[in-house]
């Protein structure tokens, strides 16, 4: 890929996330340096490992990484929903709650860059049945569902059944039964068929 500013090979691939909008930059080393310098000389909020590229933009994704490093990172996929880091960089949207665990190290500088903090101090859920605050345990269901589908596709029904039981076990603990809604008026139009 060519640099967006000149004809040299692009080695820096920068994804800027600004109030939800994604901007992608592909730059050669010189233009990347110029870009980073122009975005100001404030100290980075990222970890000490990106200290040399000490600009706010350096806290954003992919900056300071060579194309090779980024290519490896890009291929990493979430164990639950399967989204690759590349897909996230492209869309600016994560695939599932587990991404925050799977890509924690990569997301942390980005989150610090956006919010100037990495620690939630607001309201927290109160859970019954001594369930933990974090929902990582429940989120495992997303991966199990995927594996169940794969097992069915491969006609490994025994395995699929194990997955199904595991999913039920987790959901039974987490998803409290709701009382039946009092005659919900179903506003949905004619489902499917042409009007």
């Amino acid at each position: 890929m060519k640099c967006q500013q000149c004809d040299k090979q692009a080695v820096f691939h920068i994804t800027e996330l600004e109030s939800g909008a994604v901007r992608e930059l592909h730059l050669c080393e010189d233009h990347a340096r110029a870009y980073l310098n122009q975005s100001g000389g404030e100290p980075s909020q990222g970890g000490p490992e990106d200290a040399e590229e000490a600009t706010p933009a350096a806290g954003a994704l992919g900056v300071g990484q060579t194309a090779d490093e980024l290519a490896i990172l890009d291929q990493r996929a979430c164990e639950m929903c399967g989204i690759t880091f590349f897909e996230f960089r492209n869309q600016g949207r994560l695939g599932c709650p587990h991404d925050y665990v799977q890509f924690e190290k990569e997301l942390e500088p980005l989150i610090a860059n956006i919010h100037g903090a990495t620690e939630h101090t607001g309201r927290r859920p109160t859970r019954a049945n001594s369930l933990p605050e974090g929902t990582e345990d429940l989120t495992r269901v997303i991966g199990l569902r995927r594996e169940m589908k794969e097992a069915i596709a491969l006609e490994e029904y025994e395995k699929a059944k194990e997955h199904r039981d595991a999913i039920r076990g987790i959901e039974d603990r987490w998803v409290v039964p709701s009382e039946p809604p009092p005659s919900v008026a179903d506003d949905r139009g004619a489902e499917g068929g042409p009007a």
Partner: protein, 358 residues
């Protein structure tokens, strides 16, 4: 279709009541929430989106606040109806334009709206007339708490409530006020004001949210960060700056009246004149002129017009509303003619009966 009944009302944010409602149109708080055991919307399959929609709809229907809500299946609505809901600020443009199973639940006052399968599985919104962020926050807290009893929201001990976009993670809260700032625009101070707002990490947007142009001098001010501060602190952050902006706008209005009285009076009267006599008029021009008239009413330069009426015209002259009121689809040219007719009728009705046809 029950949407028609909405054309008869104007909805909470245009009621024109509440504290400081000469400048603050509405106060809004929204929370972004996701169910922990499903992929985020953009990653969810068609089937999963339908499952998420059903799961949330059923759960919401069985909590106390959910019982009085009206459900609208956005996925099966015609485009004009989706646009209609966007114009009323009951759903976002993203939600209107999205694919797959999605819905919105609204209360009769049009204060609470719950969008299912927007960017996040659930977006709870609470809107009050005038400056009332605290009231909107207290109300949304109740809604959120009740739903959380039945819905396991995705939560991370350190990052807080997890959202599809990292810009919303943590509290998932967006606190915003919609302000009418015509005098700051006329006196060219608005850019300066916005620059100082950006410095304290507040975002400024147009009337219809993200990416929309500010139309008719209406601006939304909201918090930009959602992590690292409590919901109350973020409500305060936005709330604290509003009185300052109100003060700026009032002073700019006083300045206009004091220094350029004739000029302002002329501008306002011309705007009123065009609205009452035009034969064809675009939505943008209408918005711009209504904004001037609104200011004129506030400054006492125009009598006999109520603020609530102006507010109502702001939304009823929007494309989808106009077509709904007319009861048929209209192309741009026909809409412009119909809009002008609607405005003329509206203003004539208030004054000395029907003006003669020319």
């Amino acid at each position: 279709m029950k949407l028609e009944s909405l054309t008869q009302s104007i909805g909470e944010w245009l009621r024109g009541t509440g504290p400081e409602s000469d400048i603050v149109m509405s106060s809004r708080v929204r929370l972004a929430r996701n169910v922990a055991h499903y992929p985020f919307v953009s990653r969810a399959s068609e089937q999963e989106r339908a499952d998420i929609e059903r799961f949330l709809r059923e759960r919401i229907a069985s909590v106390p606040v959910g019982r009085g809500l009206e459900y609208i299946d956005v996925g099966h609505l015609e485009e004009i109806d989706r646009q209609f809901l966007v114009e009323r600020q009951l759903i976002s443009r993203e939600h209107a334009d999205a694919q797959g199973a999605r819905s919105v639940a609204i209360d009769r006052m049009e204060q609470v709206s719950l969008m299912i399968n927007e960017e996040d599985h659930l977006r709870i919104q609470c809107m009050h007339s005038g400056l009332d962020l605290r009231g909107a926050w207290e109300q949304i807290k109740v809604v959120d708490d009740q739903i959380e009893k039945l819905v396991p929201y995705a939560f991370h001990p350190r990052f807080g409530y997890l959202t599809a976009c990292p810009t919303n993670v943590g509290t998932g809260i967006r606190v915003s006020v919609m302000l009418h700032l015509p005098a700051l625009v006329i006196t060219r101070q608005i850019d300066k004001v916005f620059r100082s707002l950006h410095k304290i990490s507040l975002a400024v947007r147009g009337l219809y949210g993200e990416g929309s142009q500010a139309m008719g001098d209406f601006y939304q001010i909201s918090n930009q960060t959602t992590l690292g501060r409590t919901e109350e602190e973020l409500v305060e952050q936005v709330g604290d700056v509003v009185p300052v902006l109100i003060d700026y706008e009032r002073r700019a209005r006083e300045f206009l009246v004091r220094e350029t009285q004739q000029n302002v009076h002329d501008q306002v009267s011309r705007a009123f004149g065009i609205l009452r006599t035009a034969q064809t008029i675009s939505a943008e021009e209408t918005m711009q002129l209504l904004s001037r008239v609104r200011m004129g009413v506030m400054l006492g330069l125009i009598g006999d017009v109520k603020i609530a009426d102006i507010n109502s015209l702001l939304v009823r002259t929007q494309p989808a509303h106009l077509q709904k009121l007319r009861g048929m689809e209209l192309d741009v040219n026909d809409r412009n003619i119909e809009r002008a007719r609607y405005l003329r009728q509206h203003f004539e009705g208030g004054d000395s009966g029907r003006a003669s046809v020319n």
